[in-house]
Point group: C2
Chain length 335, copies 2
């Protein structure tokens, strides 16, 4: 497998990206194309050659930063690491592209430079959320603001294939994010989407309220990108607020400080369950190539896990499978 990687994207780039690539090449024996400033990449590679697989440097003169306007950056920064990486997938030189950089540019670039799978109207960003029992895919988490019921049906189909092929869940349970569990609940979009999902051959388990996501009630949670983005960011923000308030309480007295010391391992193990690094990146499903958006603050381990995820998508032919299922299920006959 050949994977193009944006060496310059993310808070810890290029160091964490380069190191994560060394680990991934060693572990999975894949061919990695690291795109970015040649000198900087070489500095962090420091002469290391992986025992398995290989790492090639592709020089890029420009970098798309977090402050760049997405569409404009993709159109104007033609020599950026992101645009070069996307083109390598488009041209068939690589099977997958991974970046921890500007999310908007990543989404816009994937659409503009690589393009959609025929039959998928709107590709969707699909991170995994930790639950009490495992993980739940949230699709769409922010790529599509105003959606049609048909888009949500396609999200459900792609999410189902991912959870089955990549995560290994048989007959993934598809839930529809809604304000109540009854069929009649919700806004126009969810009411109409409910009907489509009920009529599909997916394992649709009905409406899911946002309070039940973390109990592990479904494997794929379908929603429009506005609502999904609210769930994702609310979850991030609340988890971080709870942690900082808890820390504040624990530092208040000598007794509580001593108690906190005894609980160091417990807190560490607890924190791990909410750590995005364990879960890889968010696939951008529906693009005609494997696209992985790693978290902006990805470290070495997160990059390696995101590469592992790209490999699983590749090994399991997920894109072909989406194309086939679109035909088989007649999802696209829906208007």
């Amino acid at each position: 497998m050949k994977i193009a990687i944006d060496a310059m994207g993310g808070d810890n780039a290029p160091k964490a990206v380069v190191e994560g690539c060394i680990d991934a090449a060693n572990e999975y024996g894949i061919e990695i194309y690291l795109i970015g400033n040649e000198k900087e990449i070489e500095k962090h590679l420091n002469g290391i050659k992986p025992a398995k697989g290989s790492i090639h440097i592709v020089h890029a003169d420009e970098v798309i930063t977090g402050e760049d306007a997405p569409v404009q950056a993709i159109k104007q920064k033609k020599d950026s690491s992101m645009v070069i990486g996307l083109k390598m997938v488009k041209d068939g030189q690589c099977h997958a592209f991974l970046s921890a950089g500007n999310t908007g540019a990543f989404l816009a670039g994937s659409l503009l430079k690589v393009g959609r799978i025929k039959g998928i109207d709107r590709p969707a960003l699909a991170p995994l959320l930790p639950t009490e029992k495992g993980v739940c895919m949230l699709i769409d988490a922010g790529a599509n603001m105003d959606c049609k019921p048909k888009n949500l049906l396609q999200f459900a189909l792609m999410g189902s294939i991912y959870m089955e092929k990549v995560v290994g869940i048989q007959s993934p349970r598809i839930g529809l994010l809604n304000v109540g569990t009854e069929e009649s609940k919700g806004n126009d979009l969810t009411k109409q989407s409910y009907e489509l999902l009920k009529g599909s051959n997916l394992n649709f388990v009905g409406n899911v309220e946002a309070r039940d996501i973390f109990s592990g009630i479904c494997d794929v949670l379908v929603c429009d990108g506005f609502a999904g983005n609210v769930v994702l960011k609310n979850t991030e923000g609340l988890a971080s607020t709870i942690m900082s308030l808890l820390k504040e309480e624990l530092m208040k007295s000598t007794v509580s400080k001593f108690g906190a010391l005894l609980l160091k391992n417990s807190f560490r193990s607890f924190k791990k369950r909410f750590d995005y690094k364990e879960y890889g990146g968010a696939p951008f499903l529906g693009i005609n190539g494997i696209m992985i958006k790693a978290h902006g603050s990805s470290d070495r381990k997160a990059i390696m896990n995101a590469i592992r995820q790209a490999k699983l998508l590749y090994d399991n032919n997920c894109i072909d499978r989406i194309m086939m299922d679109l035909k088989d299920t007649g999802v696209n006959d829906v208007e």
Copy 2:
């Protein structure tokens, strides 16, 4: 002040409701009308007469349960504690109504039996969320699914008045729930609402991402009822999941159990900050009367705090103020 209270609504009714009313009468010297099964109410009153204020029992033959379909229940169960209470506000016998019962029936009943403030198109449910710095009003949290920009502007106006008059915040900061902070972000609704809010004389601080709600970035967070309901329930669900996972970790070893014991007070003080009981109920703003929806699991203290909230709305003439401001600001000239 005269307040009608649904003695039969909520998980701990009528006991917790009756006890909360005794406390509130004693504390605030108000006139309370407890509506429900006379015998049951009397049993829990147990002959107690508050030192200040007064408690009157209004017998109701029926109860609207959590399983009842809201609109149908309001129309058919004419002798229910909820319908009788709403009528007492409509007829001017009471200034406010409070219930911890069926939320859907409460919202539908308020609209059908009491009616809207002239000029408010869609009343909104507006709970307070705890933040690192205080509280933030979430409006709308689930009463209106598909909204227009004009509705969001009215929500902002009502929220601003509430936070100023009841919570005591000068020139409350109004945020618009969105997927990014830039003006151009969001779906059709938020883009158009941004323009309206920017042009209003409210203290609009721009778009707020869901990850920043808990940092206390705004005093009023405006959104449609679908998105607001997702925020509310996601917050509830995640907080409860984090607590139960933490508990699990702390019970794993003898050392961690001992550490947890030392931290008992810290955990208690921490939990209090996320306890809805401290914050009263959620006002249903835009109804032509003071309407408070208390949490379904309200205990004695939560009921008393919700009554306190109704009193503050009354003492500060919040409904008149909404009517006046609607005229002054020309919010209703917007189409």
